[in-house]
Assembly symmetry: C2
Homo-oligomer: 347 residues x 2
């Protein structure tokens, strides 16, 4: 079968690999019908050492169940399913607390932690299939597929940002980043009733989509100038809630600049740093809270799906390009150059 | 009048200084009847550069109003009052949000930010007296004074740790630090209904008081051994809520070790670091939240005082020594050597 491998920074290839097969009785084999490239895939695209590769890529997918292990009870061949970016059993004490990304099952994992499976391919072995996969009530060629695919990561991740930031009716929110997760953080804040949503981003086509998703203000400036602008828009003190959907240190610093004393910075951009300012001069002195992490998107699927199915929202608008598997390397390049927002892959 | 000055690390002196006097019409002049030395006073006692001194010390006090400015409306000569460690107007938008430590009034400050006033002295000028001071319904020689004095900082700070950690009925909590704030974090967690309270501390007399305040378990070990012990006591995964009442980096690292995925580290020990681990390997990957800051103790006085007045609780048990002003330098030394837990000063 064909699959995407990253060999090192800037080096993405689509190659023939051994067919994925069932290994454990709790596995399902899924033929991928829709996958995509994630903003977080760009982190290794920028920095991966060749010695760490090659690794299989892709952690968001929709597909048709091709086979199931003997212990799989909820799925059958032919089911269309969506696979969150984390493998979880959906029954352990952490899953029951809606923290599927900390599932304590020995086979729990992230797709990105499985070097031999990946969504940007023709097929994938899904461990803990009953816990991980969610059946979709549409056909593989449904026009809803792009929006349903966002349940695998970016919409659930934006929603997690908003939930961990405590967004509720009347909240005043700043979103940092106009990538897919930033834009779906805007949508999530809007759905949760935020009164003001300031989107910090400098790509006009993206921030236009942000406005469509509910942004009330857009700030294109960055750094000190951007912070100043947000403060002007928020009565001088910044936002109670800041959703950080980038992961680089300048975004963290921007968050410190636009958060109101007593407020919260909710991070869902995967941090590309380990140490950061948290002392008296940054978080502590102003009682600013830090929240967020890898989103337990499995926990949100049932909550978020109905408004997609009934057409109320269309998070799939974050996809602005579609390719087959062979076009995946170009898709990475286009997303890296910001000529594509998010690339849908139809293997 | 006599007052305590710190000249540099290890160099505390009690000297004659100009009498404190009213300067603004919103000031009160307070004759101090009870003050104390704070664990946070030990930070400059360890590290203050002589070039930064001398500075007046003391940010917790009870005293009798000796005079009031023309615009003070709620206080009169002779009132016994308690002064929180932060000066605030109690009316600005942040004070109304119970974040008095971020009061936006131009005269808002911390006592520690006022080089010419301090509680470890015979008298003090209190700015924004109507906002800052709270009248006490007892006499200056009441046996309740030590407990009421804890409302100026350490009890309110421990309570803030517990509130920002989200402690509620049934919470499972670990408290790091057996100083006065750690012990009153235990008391606060107990009052808020915590089911398990693991106190990490290695001074037997202090942890015994911690047990009296509600600790269900005591862990004397530190570092990896202490983390291991707490994990054993918490079903292997650590506590949902960790209250960090120390402020040094090893305490932060200990907090990372004992906090459960999805849990919260609530800090009230003043951080003696600015940068700390917050990335995927520490906070982010496990969705651990960071909370806390300087406690808006003014916000908690009315809530916490009744149980002191009716004898239900006795947070003043953290005082294990009493001295006059001349004994203050020895009090610093004793607290630094851990031969005193907290020293009450009767000027």
């Amino acid at each position: 079968m064909r699959a995407t491998l990253m060999y090192g920074a800037g080096d993405v290839r689509v190659e023939n690999v051994p067919d994925s097969v069932l290994k454990h009785p709790t596995d399902a084999l899924v033929r991928v019908t829709a996958s995509c490239i994630c903003g977080s895939d760009l982190h290794p695209y920028h920095s991966m050492q060749a010695a760490d590769g090659p690794v299989r890529m892709g952690h968001e997918l929709i597909g048709v169940v091709a086979d199931v292990g003997s212990e799989v009870t909820t799925l059958s061949r032919g089911d269309l399913v969506v696979a969150p970016f984390a493998i979880s059993d959906n029954t352990c004490e952490f899953c029951r607390e809606n923290l599927h990304t900390s599932c304590s099952h020995p086979e729990a994992n992230f797709w990105d932690g499985m070097p031999e499976e990946g969504g940007q391919s023709e097929a994938v072995r899904v461990p803990l299939a009953d816990g991980t996969l969610v059946k979709l009530p549409v056909a593989p060629d449904s026009a809803l597929v792009p929006s349903l695919l966002t349940l695998a990561d970016v919409y659930g991740t934006g929603y997690h940002a908003a939930k961990m930031g405590g967004v509720t009716r009347g909240s005043r929110v700043t979103v940092i980043g106009d990538g897919a997760v930033g834009l779906l953080s805007v949508l999530s804040a809007q759905r949760l009733g935020a009164e003001q949503i300031v989107l910090m981003g400098r790509h006009r086509d993206r921030t236009d989509l942000g406005r469509e998703f509910g942004a009330t203000d857009v700030v294109a400036e960055r750094g000190d100038e951007g912070v100043e602008r947000v403060r002007e828009l928020t009565g001088g003190h910044g936002s109670h809630v800041v959703l950080e959907a980038v992961g680089h240190m300048p975004a963290y610093q921007q968050a410190l600049g636009v958060v109101r004393p007593g407020g919260v910075i909710s991070r869902v951009g995967v941090p590309q740093y380990e140490e950061a300012p948290v002392g008296f001069a940054s978080l502590f002195g102003r009682n600013i809270r830090l929240a967020g992490g890898p989103a337990p998107v499995r926990a949100y699927v049932e909550e978020l799906m109905p408004a997609i199915l009934d057409g109320t929202i269309e998070p799939g608008k974050v996809f602005d390009a579609t390719t087959g598997l062979d076009g995946v390397p170009d898709g990475y390049r286009d997303m890296d150059r910001r000529t594509s927002l998010k690339v849908l892959v139809e293997p």
